[in-house]
Structure formats: C-alpha cells, structure tokens
C-alpha cells in the first residue's frame, strides 16, 4: 500500500528522462509516448520489487526494454540490428581523430546536422551517447539500464563517439 502510493513520487520525476530516451530510441514521438505509457504501467507492476537506489536508472531500464520490444514489433525500416556481432573488437575499426578533430565538429555544430547524425547511429550506440551526454549518467547507471558489463558500456560509448566524429568529418568534407 505505502509502496504503491509512493510510486508516483519515485517514478514520475523521471518522466522527462523516460520520454527523452524513448524518443531517441524509437525516433518517433507517437511511439515514444506509447512506450512511456507502457513502461510506466510496467514500472508500477514491478514497483514492489524496487529496492531503492537510483530510481532514474530503474525507470530508464524499463523504458529501454519497452522501447526495444516496440522496435522489434514495428520492424521499422530504420530499425538497425539490436545487437551487433562483436562487442569487443569494435573499438578498433574506426579511425582515430585525424589532423583536425575539432574543426570538423565545430563546423558541424549545426543542430539539425548533429541531430541527424546521432539519429542515424546504430541504436545500441545511440543509447549509450544519449544516456551519457544527454542524461549525464555514470557508467554504472548506464550498465544497469542496458544490462551490460561496464567494459561493454565503455567500448560502445567509444565506438559511438568515433562514429559520430567520423560522420561529422564526412559531413563537412
């Protein structure tokens, strides 16, 4: 009872974070709203097993799972494979910063351009960047949300940044 009634106080402060993640994962405002609604109802169901700790990570973990389920169902043409083959060797397959790492990104500092580049990243890389740079979550929280080891979080984040930087360089060339 007390647990149920405090659900709102625990989960709802994270409504914006929930929507932001759902929106970036699904790429659609409508789908994101559905995902957040579903996720919040699921969260209410799971709430008795919530043991305290980071409520935002807990909510986002549920949102993330719901969003992935929605992506699978939708089989959107843009939905990239949910998991890529090799996690651990992936950090070497992109070039390191070139001669001029900064200027390409500064020139690309066009809101629509960056937004498009982020939106086109594979979903598992996009989520790493959204959780780190937009939500400013720690590696530990990101590991909890994505249910991955911290090492994988680090290499995904690295690959995401490399790909985004590569896209920026390609974009301004």
């Amino acid at each position: 009872m007390a647990q149920e009634s405090s659900f709102a106080a625990v989960a709802l402060p994270h409504l914006d974070a929930a929507y932001n993640l759902a929106r970036w994962l699904t790429g659609s405002a409508d789908t994101a709203e559905e995902v957040v609604q579903d996720a919040m109802l699921r969260a209410l169901t799971y709430f008795p097993s919530f043991r305290g700790g980071n409520a935002r990570a807990w909510v986002l973990q549920i949102v993330r799972n719901t969003a992935y389920a929605a992506l699978t169902v939708r089989r959107d043409a843009r939905a990239v494979p949910l998991a890529t083959a090799d996690e651990d060797d992936g950090i070497h397959d992109l070039p390191d910063p070139g001669d001029d790492p900064e200027t390409a990104l500064l020139r690309a500092r066009d809101r629509a351009l960056i937004e498009g580049m982020l939106a086109r990243l594979p979903v598992e890389l996009r989520e790493a960047l959204v959780l780190r740079e937009l939500e400013e979550l720690s590696y530990r929280d990101i590991a909890q949300i994505t249910e991955l080891p911290i090492g994988t979080v680090m290499s995904r984040l690295w690959r995401a940044r490399r790909q985004l930087a590569a896209a920026a360089r390609a974009g301004v060339r």
């Binding site: 009872m1 007390a2 149920e4 009634s5 405090s6 659900f7 709102a8 106080a9 625990v10 709802l12 402060p13 994270h14 409504l15 914006d16 974070a17 929930a18 929507y19 932001n20 929106r23 970036w24 405002a29 994101a32 709203e33 957040v36 609604q37 919040m40 109802l41 209410l44 305290g52 409520a55 935002r56 950090i91 070497h92 390191d96 910063p97 790492p101 900064e102 990104l105 500064l106 690309a108 500092r109 066009d110 809101r111 960056i114 937004e115 982020l118 740079e133 937009l134 939500e135 400013e136 720690s138 590696y139 680090m154 290499s155 984040l157 690295w158 940044r161 985004l164 930087a165 920026a168």
Partner: protein, 249 residues
C-alpha cells in the same frame, strides 16, 4: 591488430567522463602530456560534447503527463503522500495557462546545470520516501555542523531559523553529480525543505528560482558556497526561506 593505445583511449574516455579516481587521473595526466594521439582524442571528446549540447532533449508533453495521471490514478489514490497528491493535482488540473508556463520554464532550462538540478530534486524526493533517514537528527546546529567535520572537505554553513518558522531537522551527506554535497533538512509547517550546499566559485546560478515536477527550487551563492533549496513549498515561501537564511548570522 590491436593498436597499443586502445586501453589508453578507454582510460582517457573514462577520465573525460569523470569516472577515474584521483590516482588514475594523475597517472593519465602524465601520459597525456607526451602523447599527441591522446591530446587529439581529448580535443575531439570536448568538441563532441559541445556539439551534442545542441541536440534536443525531448520532454514529455503535458498531455502525456495527464494521460499517465489518469491511467495510474486508481493505483495511487491511496491516502498517503502529500507530495504525490500534490503532483497529481497539478497534473490533473493542468490548464492551458499552466501548460504554457511550464513549457516556458522547461525551454528556458540552462543545459549545463540541468543534470545537477535534476539530481537535487530527485534526491529531495528520495529523502521523502518512507524509511529514508536523516544521517544526523538534531535541531541544534551545534550538533549538526560538527557532524560534517571529517566527512566533507569543506565546512557547510549551518543556520537555525526556528525563530522564523523554519526549524532545522538535521543533515545528511549525499553524493550528487560526482561530488560530496551537504544536505541540511529544514521544515516549514509540515513541508520538508532540503538545502544542498557545496563549494563553488563563480557566477550566480540562472535562473535563481525555478520549478521542476511540482517542486520549487531556489538557488544562490554566498561565501564561495553554492546553495540550493528544494521543497514543495510555494515559491514565495521558499524564497522567504532563502532570504531569511542569507540574513541569519
């Protein structure tokens, strides 16, 4: 074909993301000084972060908040928390004016401090949960202030405003945004107020007063300390608290 520098790259990234301890940071700083590749990577990490600051943060619409309130209402209609009821009431009675005002507040958010602000409000809400304790329970500032000694690398100013209707209830130690923060618990009527304190040099925070999910936030700086009061009190009452606090000896 593993470049010899790849571990350094992840380490560098961890440093950039504030995930390294002091010893590791120092060791890495030594390496970075002589490593052109790491310097270039660092520059790029900074540029990337700057670029990503321009990307939109998608906030839940008032319609979504309302829809959720309606769907969850039966389950949360239990007679307990004032905080929750307050939130629902606001969500449910979200008129056009309120929606407009809220969207203005939300779009005016400063990108840089928003994460910390969110962390402070979350922490305040957590502290309202049943079973969450205040680390040191005392209405006597001469008890609360020494309690922080040795737990923090700064001495938070502790003032008692009981005479003004804002009695001190105690204090606790929190880790927010990667730093240790002193939280002083006050009360007004039955409304809890958390005053978060940490050392900070520099400009006044903007905006000085804001609202987040039904909680009011008033921030100021004084004597090299950043102070942030969070409560479900009305904004003018919380501003009174801030004013009295600044005037108190």
């Amino acid at each position: 074909m593993v470049p010899p520098s790849c571990d350094q790259a992840l380490l560098l990234q961890a440093e950039f993301d504030g995930e390294l301890g002091t010893a590791q940071s120092v060791a890495l700083a030594g390496h970075r000084e002589g490593c052109a590749a790491c310097q270039a990577r660092w520059t790029e990490l900074v540029a990337l972060r700057g670029a990503l600051k321009t990307v939109p943060y998608h906030r839940a619409s008032p319609a979504l908040a309302r829809a959720l309130a309606e769907r969850l209402a039966p389950a949360t209609a239990a007679p307990r928390p004032r905080v929750a009821r307050r939130w629902w009431r606001e969500a449910a009675s979200f008129g056009l004016g309120a929606a407009l005002a809220a969207s203005l507040v939300l779009t005016m958010r400063p990108a840089r401090d928003d994460g910390m602000l969110a962390a402070l409000v979350d922490d305040h809400v957590r502290a309202l949960q049943p079973g969450h304790f205040i680390d040191v329970i005392s209405t006597d500032r001469h008890t609360v202030k020494p309690w922080f000694d040795g737990k923090l690398d700064f001495a938070p100013p502790v003032k008692d405003l009981a005479a003004d209707g804002f009695p001190l209830r105690g204090g606790r130690l929190d880790y927010l945004g990667g730093r240790a923060v002193a939280a002083l618990a006050y009360e007004h009527g039955k409304h809890p107020i958390d005053l978060f304190v940490w050392p900070e040099r520099g400009a006044q925070p903007t905006p000085p007063a804001t609202e987040r999910h039904g909680y009011n936030v008033v921030q100021w700086t004084a004597d090299g300390m950043a102070l942030t009061a969070v409560s479900d009190l009305e904004r003018d009452e919380l501003e009174d608290f801030a004013r009295l606090w600044q005037k108190a000896p």
